[in-house]
Amino acid sequence: MSLIDRRPGLRVGLLLTPPMLWLGVAYLGALAALLIASLWTQNDFTGTIERSWTLENFKTLFTVEVYRTITLRTIGIAALVTVVDAVLAFPIALYMAKVASPRMQRILVISVLTPLWASYLVKAYAWRGMLSADGPIAWVAAPFGLHTPGYGLPAVTITLAYLWLPYMILPVYAGLERLPDSLFEASADLGAGAWTTLRRVVVPMAFPAIVAGSIFTFSLSMGDYIAVKIVGGTSQLLGNVVYDNQGAANNLPFAAAVATVPIVVMLAYLAAVRRTGALENL
């Protein structure tokens, strides 16, 4: 018998080392590097990075009005996208999980997943076309005396809600599918109509799954900068500030400081939702 057969601990160790290295070095290591970089500074004249410790970047971030506005705007958009996705996803997921025939269920799961295969850019540009002054939305809205929302924050919200909707539908669908039908029947049996059952049984029981989905929609929205560039007009989100600083301005330390904001917001959000049991639903 070889050494590896006699020592189960060794076998598990060998099996787990590569993925743990990936997680530790490539993933958490990169984040650590980012945090360290945010504590450095840039020489205003030469543009080179000076590796001396300073909180200057964070001070700028919190004191300059425009960054505060952008931070709040980003959180607001991410929250709005999450709410829109939850409201859209719940009835779809409920239909998929509890009403549709098994065949229809498969078709719906596939059609929810299919948009994920298309490139992000294609989808964002598709919405640019949809929202343009002579695009389909303008065309449909014109007879009612309405206009396309054009490019700006509403367009960003619509586009992001569209992009992340599958990430909300799938966990909610999985959560609802797990609920035994007898719970619905028991509620009806005890005198509750469909609406009461929805409010008192289905939504409370699906809530952890909705929160699980919101972790995706919220964090993906917090970090996005491409959709804003394509359909956001002149509006800026945190992602754009990061992108502009590390690209055009080449101020990597400040970009890193800005990038920690979504991370901190997400950690706070995760800490809050941990109490709902949503993390067991992921």
């Binding site: 029947e185 028991a186 049996d189 005890l190 509750a192 008192r200």
Partner: protein, 352 residues
């Protein structure tokens, strides 16, 4: 006695499958009524039709004289205890029990009082604030019962509620359920595949087979006078005598059934007046604790099972009889005639 449930011409077809086929049934007020049958016999479908979870293909359902056939479950004065209990996991025991009252907008104080009362009925005082996941299977079963009873329905429907409990707990709950039913005076409609459970608790039992009622009778009548070979085989075990064998032994082609405990194993023919005796060889002796079962191959052809109580140490004698020649003797009036032979019905051994 008034009729609680009345069913006429009730059918439920799932595609080609006739789960329930032209059923007529009357259940009296305050009755403990059991629907017994193997899985797939349609008993649960009948229960779900009465509760309103399924819509019948044809037929009518009357509840206390009112036609409820097309009414949704929430508009019927019945409550169900589900096989998996269907306790709401996000609510406490009290909130579960109060659910029906809350939905019907019963004021808070009364709600609380009635929930306490219902929890006391099922002996769960002090568990009101627990969460369902903190309860054992038996306790969950009681919560499901309290949640249904608290609404004081005309009829309580129970879908194999004891199926998930272990044998000892199940026996206790059988007696307790019967007591609760007597105390609250509500009509119980109880679905089970366990014949012992049905015999223990019921006032009347309907034996289901392939979507139809094979026999509807009191437990004693069902056991002592089974109407068909199916019932004789499903409720308890029985020996079937038919055709030439029956003609030789009884003088009539039958078919006849006789219960194993009505047969006697003897060394020689006792020549009893009104008795019948058949010679055979003991092929198997099975010790069952309280009783012993011997399988005898009769010279006339069929194999019969003989059961006798182990009231003395005769077990040694019984075991020694293996492969010995014996005489099986019984009283003629213990034979149950099933009337004319029916080739379609075959006894099915399914004892729990």
């Amino acid at each position: 006695m008034a009729t609680a449930i009345s069913v006429r011409g009730l059918s439920k077809h799932f595609g080609e499958v006739r789960a329930v086929d032209g059923l007529d049934l009357d259940i009296a007020d305050g009755e403990f009524f059991s629907m017994l049958g193997p899985s797939g016999s349609g008993k649960t479908t009948v229960l779900r039709l009465i509760a309103g979870f399924e819509e019948p293909t044809a037929g009518r359902i009357m509840l206390g004289g009112e036609d409820v056939t097309r009414r949704p479950p929430f508009a019927r004065d019945v409550n169900t205890v589900f096989q998996d209990y269907a306790i709401f996991p996000h609510l406490s025991v009290r909130q579960n029990v109060e659910y029906g009252l809350r939905v019907k907008k019963v004021p808070g104080a009364e709600r609380r009082r009635r929930a306490d009362e219902a929890l006391a009925t099922v002996r769960l005082e002090g568990y009101a604030e627990r969460r369902p996941h903190q309860l054992s299977g038996g306790q969950r079963q009681r919560v499901a019962l309290a949640r249904a009873l608290v609404n004081r329905p005309q009829v309580l429907l129970l879908d194999e509620p004891l199926g998930a409990l272990d044998l000892k707990l199940r026996r206790e709950m059988q007696i307790e359920l019967k007591e609760i039913q007597r105390d609250v005076g509500i009509t119980f409609v109880f679905v089970t595949h366990d014949q012992e459970e049905a015999l223990t608790m019921s006032d009347r039992i309907a034996v289901f087979n392939e979507g139809r009622i094979e026999q509807l009778a009191s437990p004693v009548e069902l056991y002592e006078r089974p109407a068909s070979a199916f019932v004789a085989g499903f409720v308890g075990s029985s020996n079937l005598l038919e055709g030439d064998v029956a003609r030789d032994l009884v003088g009539d082609p039958g078919p006849f059934v006789i219960r194993p405990e009505k047969l006697q194993l003897l060394a020689e023919d006792p020549h009893l007046p009104g008795g019948i005796a058949a010679a055979g060889v003991v092929r198997e002796v099975v010790y069952l604790g309280a009783s012993t079962m011997s399988v005898v191959e009769l010279d006339a052809g069929p194999t019969v099972t003989v059961s006798h109580q182990n009231s003395d140490t005769s077990i040694d004698a019984a075991v020694e009889r293996r492969d010995q020649r014996v005489v099986v003797s019984w009283r003629r009036d213990h034979l149950v005639s099933l009337g004319s032979p029916d080739p379609a019905a075959s006894p099915e051994e399914e004892t729990a």
